[in-house]
Amino acid sequence: MRRTTYPSHVRGSKATAPISLTARVFLSAVIMSLIVTSATASTSPQFGGVLRFQISERVMTVDPRQWPSDSLRAAATERLASLVFDRLVRFDDHGVTQPALAVSWQHDAQAKRWQFHMREGVKFADGTQLTPEAAALSLQQSLGNEFDVSATSDSVVILADHSLPDLPAQLATGRYFIFHSAADGTLSGTGPFRVSEWPAGDGPAKVVLTANESCWAGRPFVDGIQITLGMELQKRANAIAFGQSDVVELPASQVRLVGQRGVRTASSDPVELFALQFDLARPAIQDARLREAISAAIDRASIADVVLQRQGVPAGGLMPNWLSGYAFLFPTALDLPRTRELLTATGREVSHAAPLVLVYDSGDEEARAIAERVAVNLKEAGIAVQLSAQTTGSASKPSAGDMRLVHQRIASPEIGVALPTLLASLGEPSAVLETPAQAYAAERAPIDSFRVIPLVHVSESYGLGPQVRDWMPPRWGGWLLEDVWLAPVPAPAAGGTTP
């Protein structure tokens, strides 16, 4: 036992009697108990092993300076980047911002000037010390020139010309990672892993990450991760079923099927939105009554239950109820009488009207299945629809059809960030949202005018191999692979026979 001495003046004014012998004996028992419970653990995590992971997206880079605009690709990039980089702040399980590389923060009365006090003693994976200057440089590149980011001796200061009440929540998601760029352009982070291999090219690729032994938040439990990017669905399903992968990403429609093959699955709360968005420049759908008729004709429950195999929930609002708390206020029920009433009111000659063109992403299997179901629903209601599969790079406004099936990822567990982000990606106006009433009003605007028709919210799902332990990401999805550990493979029975 090594004793550390301290200056007497900081020992306090009261008697500073050393710990008595009895207490030491008792404490020894406590300490041994702590060690024992760690050492003999069957529930406590164990170190070692390489986690094999397969996902569908072909993420090209985790460089925060080259962030994709598409929300689904951005989400996949963010999941990977969070293994390598940290942010100033993070979300806890309740969606509340908590310290990460910043240990405290404060802002002025207008919330235009924010000061984040940096954690000391943190190093990037390349051995460089994390400094306020390095953090400020990272954030300036991510936030852009709209913000003035500077460093003091122990903190980062962010200035804007407008109020930023949700800045910590904004910095806890997306591209706002802290990184260090070496002279050769290599990026390093302070996260639990470092990149060992990242193949170039467009096809499937195996990325190799290695545990960051000096991570300020503790070394991850696994020694490394092999993530295969761009893997086809069928190969992923087979890989998890036959033990060739420890974790695979699954589309909602496959979760039940994979589960029936004896694979353990895990799903988040609904975090993705499928919705119809109209191109109001197209004459065919400028009548709001026709758009309302379309909304009332769609059987959202069957999309959730049948197409998505109960891995989705009907959506009347843009935000899922777990995030907003008020989504139930938006109707989702099928209402064919209302559709007929509205079609009559529009004077639309069903038999003679040209079919409406519904565009969906050709690379999105779920989008195709949902688009087909929507077309069937509308046809049953007397509205002809022609499907058009197109490659979409980003969730922009529809340009080649009367309506587009958009597939968006909820960007944050903070509605003050998630809703404006989604509205912006849909080309809808937004505002600062500080109360549920403001958020509700902002969400109602595009829905009441039927510019956007929410259809279904979908969970993020994974298949888990038998060795995977402590898979416990936040309820809004994502990964916490630094907390995952691999249970040892049981040794085969000696002798090879069973009595």
Binding site: R3, T4, Y6, V10, R11, G12, S13, K14, T16, A17, S20, A23, L27, V30, I31, M32, S33, L34, I35, V36, T37, S38, A39, T40, S42, T43, P45, Q46, F47, G48, H94, V96, P99, S104, Q106, A109, H117, R119, E120, G121, V122, S214, C215, A217, G218, R219, P220, F221, N321, G325, Y326, F328, L329, I415, T435, P436, Y440, D470, R475, D483
Partner: protein
């Protein structure tokens, strides 16, 4: 000393500065850090031991007043209440009764006949952060909506009863912060203190007050993702074990008296492999997981009693049971004495340090960490 207060438009978040430090400290660092006692004021997000029913009743009254103010008329108002949140049936009943009573106090009257009825549909919902109650006034395409955010807190008790010994748990703290241990202590002035041990230090909260002191514990050379620690009440006061330190704390002065290093820190990584396995007594007859603690109770028939948690990982609900280990003819025999005491998440720590046994639980339903006292009652 740093102090701050919640001010209109100004947010101040404090977290101990040296948390997670991974590089060796200098002597100057130690003197500056180790005995720095910080007093802060803040509003508790999840107030410990909050009276949940009071919160619900207060919120129901507030919603009633908002609804009354928004009603087009105070005559012929019909109230419907439905619950789609995690509130229990008895809590919903309390809310509904309070809501209707307060509406009556606001001179809102129920319909005398079926004509000219104003329907108010109240839905008790929740988001990730709070309960959200909505009142829809009127029907049709455009009902007026009144929204009320209700803070979330909870209080419950889990009881197990069957075998020779009954285990009961009583929650005495809940919050979003990960704690290693928690206990209640008496202040020399007569007050009660809630002590919460985190990886960064010991929080001392005066019960019934928002005043919190934080006594920082020196960080280890590296930070562990599955840390352990314990609070021990000794004749000299409070002793805190937070590997690799054991520190004595002066509760009245809210200061750290001294710290000793209990062991050389294992190197980063492979922490568990670097420790020699220390076998629990006897063959492992009673199924148990990593959390086991010896306890003292009059229920013993001569052997040593142990509380033990289950064998799942941190993604599963957990249980605690009591078993007795005795030596019979030179062989250690284990006997289970209690039924399973169930928890809504993994038991991440079981402690018995001279007072009542305590369980620290990560509730998977709420995401909160919870501290329970476990009482052991002999049957018959």
């Amino acid at each position: 000393m740093i102090s701050g207060s919640i001010d209109k438009g100004v947010e101040f978040v404090f977290v101990p500065r040296m948390a997670g430090r991974s590089t060796p400290m200098t002597g100057i660092d130690r003197s500056n850090l180790s005995y720095r006692t910080i007093l802060i004021l803040f509003v508790l997000l999840a107030a410990p031991m909050a009276a949940r029913s009071d919160t619900l009743e207060d919120s129901a009254r507030e919603l009633a007043r908002k609804v009354a103010a928004a009603l087009p008329t105070r005559d012929g108002v019909f109230i419907e209440v439905r619950n789609i949140s995690s509130l229990a049936a008895d809590e919903v009943s309390v809310v509904e009764q309070t809501l209707k009573r307060e509406l009556q106090n606001q001179s809102v009257r129920a319909p005398a006949n079926s004509t000219d009825v104003v329907i108010v549909r109240v839905t008790l919902s929740e988001s990730i952060k709070s309960f959200l109650w909505a009142a829809e006034i009127g029907r049709g395409n455009g009902p007026q909506v009144v929204l009320l955010v209700v803070p979330r807190s909870s209080e419950n008790q889990i009881v197990s009863n069957a075998m020779p010994v009954t285990l009961r748990s009583e929650k005495f703290w809940e919050g979003s912060q990960r704690i290693l241990d928690a206990t209640l202590a008496n202040e020399s002035g007569g007050g009660h203190l809630l002590l919460l041990l985190t990886q960064d230090g010991l929080q001392i909260r005066k019960v019934g007050s928002d005043v919190i002191s934080i006594v920082q514990i020196p960080p280890g050379e590296f930070r562990m993702r599955d840390p352990g620690g314990a609070i021990t009440q000794t004749e000299n006061g409070i002793t805190v074990t937070s590997v690799p330190w054991v520190c004595s704390v002066d509760l009245d002065g809210r200061i750290l008296i001294e710290c000793h290093k209990i062991t050389e820190s294992p190197p980063p990584g492979r922490v568990y492999e670097s420790l020699k396995l220390l076998a629990m007594p006897g063959p492992k007859r009673v199924e148990r997981g990593s959390q086991v603690t010896a306890v003292q109770s009059g229920c013993s028939s001569g052997g040593q009693l142990y509380l033990a948690a289950g064998t799942g990982d941190y993604t599963e609900p957990d249980t605690v049971l009591l078993f007795e280990s005795t030596v019979v003819n030179g062989v250690i025999v284990e006997k289970r004495l209690s039924d399973l005491l169930h928890f809504a998440g993994p038991v991440i720590a079981l402690q018995f340090a001279g007072t009542k046994p305590r369980a620290i639980v990560h509730n998977l339903q709420t995401g909160n960490y919870e501290a329970y006292h476990i009482s052991i009652t002999c049957e018959g």
